[in-house]
């Protein structure tokens, strides 16, 4: 299979401008600048390309929602706030091929006829942000960023904004607040960001991986892109597997590759002497899948049909030596800390769930605790302000069901059955 997004990842250092161009870099920009934006939207529509930041919204539909007649100024924001536990693909794109990121912003900016672009990078990726800034500066020097790009009469400047932490800032409306110098609490929708985003102007926010596909689609066409997928998927995808496997890692593979191939072939299968008990298919905020789901093609619709979510497709594997309740505690710890505190169900509900799980894990659970937690899950998710709490609840609610027996055992025996077992 041809590597597309990761074609430069084998290099010892991220390619500088000359090296990137020698490999065909910025040719897509030249092609794009000579085309009608509407024709390129049509091309991307034919690929069905969806957002790879977790929500999976179709890119072409987002463009059409804003429309060609939106008022100016218009903003383009690339979201590099990757903080989903189990997801580390965006980091690779940022650190290993920053010029690809710049080209993606430029081509997308032209399609959107944007006036200014911001790349929002999580604070923990400061080194990556510096590499990107350097690439932007190099590109600006070469007439690829700024005024009258490549003499085509199109202007676009790119600012790299280094954030200061917090998972919630990856939520697009929280990101806009963060970029404006406010607390990263989500905003009410509507208005949608494409109507009123940054400083009240039309703004489109996209994940980095999604946009990195756009120049390749523009230069090689939707048929080429669609031919790269398998099992109903289109294009390639940066997949990753982490947790209790032999070789955690990331690989660019056809969209639709099965979970079995990812976990057993690429990640080497479970740790020695263990079996695979379950896995989260799309990062921490997705529902558990079981070994019976291993042949599910990893693409949006197939994963959704199992009742879980494709998310960022960062698979997290749970092996048989680990207490599933401890795994749930490990997942929930993250969401408890990262709740922005704006709404009560999320701010107070998630810590309450946490205390119940810790009590059970410590052998002090009471009959009815699991049912109480399920009731809390059912109340927290639909009554919270944004998608954060539903994301936090998804693995918990599914875990409380899938691992009901193990939790019951904790409560009945007043101890964790895994403790002392290994």
């Amino acid at each position: 299979m041809e590597l597309v997004l990761s074609r430069n990842f084998h290099l010892p250092r991220p390619p500088a401008l000359a090296e990137y161009r020698a490999g065909g870099g910025y040719e897509a920009l030249t092609i794009a600048l000579g085309q009608d934006p509407e024709a390129m939207i049509e091309m991307v529509d034919k690929t069905g390309l969806r957002g790879y930041g977790g929500a999976g919204f179709p890119l072409a539909r987002k463009w059409r929602a804003r429309g060609a007649n939106a008022p100016h100024p218009r903003y383009l924001v690339m979201n590099v706030d990757e903080t989903e536990p189990g997801s580390f693909k965006d980091r690779q794109l940022l650190y290993r091929d920053p010029h690809q990121v710049v080209e993606a912003v430029l081509v997308t900016g032209f399609i959107e006829q944007a006036d200014h672009a911001y790349v929002f990078v999580r604070g923990e990726y400061a080194e990556g942000a510096r590499r990107l800034e350097q690439a932007v500066a190099e590109a600006r020097e070469a007439g690829l960023v700024g005024r009258n790009i490549l003499g085509a009469g199109f202007d676009l400047d790119i600012d790299v904004h280094l954030s200061a932490g917090r998972y919630i800032c990856g939520e697009e409306t929280a990101l806009l607040n963060a970029l404006e110098g406010r607390r990263g609490n989500p905003r009410a929708k509507p208005p949608m960001p494409f109507e009123k985003g940054l400083w009240g102007a039309p703004t489109l926010v996209h994940n980095i991986e999604t946009l990195c596909h756009v120049p390749h689609i523009v230069s090689r066409g939707p048929d080429w892109f669609n031919g790269q997928g398998v099992n109903g998927g289109h294009g390639t995808k940066l997949f990753s597997v982490c947790g209790e496997v032999q070789r955690p890692g990331f690989w660019e593979l056809p969209m639709g590759t099965t979970a079995r191939e990812l976990i057993y072939e690429h990640a080497g299968g479970p740790l020695d002497g263990q079996d695979l008990v379950a896995f989260l298919p799309g990062g921490a905020s997705t529902a558990f899948l079981l070994p019976e789901h291993l042949d599910t093609p990893m693409q949006f619709d197939a994963v959704a049909s199992t009742g879980s979510r494709f998310g960022t497709c960062g698979i997290i594997a749970l092996g048989s030596a680990t207490c599933p309740l401890d795994f749930l505690i490990g997942i929930n710890k993250f969401f408890v800390r990262e709740s922005c505190g704006f709404c009560t169900p999320c701010r107070d509900g998630l810590p309450y769930l946490h205390s119940l799980m810790e009590r059970i894990e410590a052998g002090q659970g009471k009959p009815g605790d699991r049912e109480l937690m399920l009731e809390l899950c059912a109340k927290i998710a639909p009554n919270s302000f944004c998608a954060f709490a539903p994301g936090a609840i998804m693995p918990l609610e599914s875990g409380l069901k899938v691992f009901a027996d193990v939790i019951q055992e904790h409560i009945e025996h007043g101890a964790c059955p895994y403790r002392g077992a290994h």
Partner: protein, 159 residues
């Protein structure tokens, strides 16, 4: 106190945004780099530059986890404790860090060299357990490599 050069650098950065307050995060990051944390004096300096009150800046400083309102060591070591690192032994590493520094997580070691704290997923799940030492990413940590890291940071501070 900010030098004239530093102040004009910040003013230039802030002017890039349509509104001054959008430069607040950068300004606070810059001041933290200078003072290692954000004392009240730093908020006062930022207030003048960003057109926000000290309270508005405090709202930001207390929201964003990489901004620190309390003194920190010369190097802040953030050990990831999200799921992949949790499974790979982060809780034991955090306990070991407390033992080695002799202060609770978030505290400053007696010689002022180190602050260790738990942190959310660093995007290094394939290298779990992982940490950031300052801005440097470190993977595949164990008790002994953590000990070596902390010792080297202490030596650096002495030198």
């Amino acid at each position: 106190m900010l030098t004239d050069h530093e102040r004009s650098h910040l003013q230039e950065h802030i002017a890039r945004y349509p509104e001054k307050r959008a430069g607040a995060i950068y300004t606070l990051q810059f001041l933290q780099q200078k003072y290692r944390y954000l004392p009240d004096e730093a908020l006062a300096e930022a207030s003048e530059l960003c057109g926000l009150s000290a309270t508005q800046l405090d709202e930001l400083a207390t929201f964003y986890t990489l901004l620190l309102r309390r003194p920190a060591g010369r190097t802040v070591v953030r050990i990831c404790d999200s799921i992949a690192c949790h499974l790979a032994g982060a809780p034991a590493l955090l306990a070991e860090a407390e033992r080695l520094t002799g202060v609770p997580l978030g505290g400053v070691s007696e010689d002022g060299s180190i602050t260790v704290m738990p942190h959310v997923c660093l995007g290094l799940c394939d290298q779990a357990p992982a940490a950031l030492a300052g801005e440097r990413a470190l993977g595949g940590l164990d008790q002994s490599s953590l000990g070596e890291l902390l010792a080297s940071l202490q030596t650096e501070a002495e030198g």
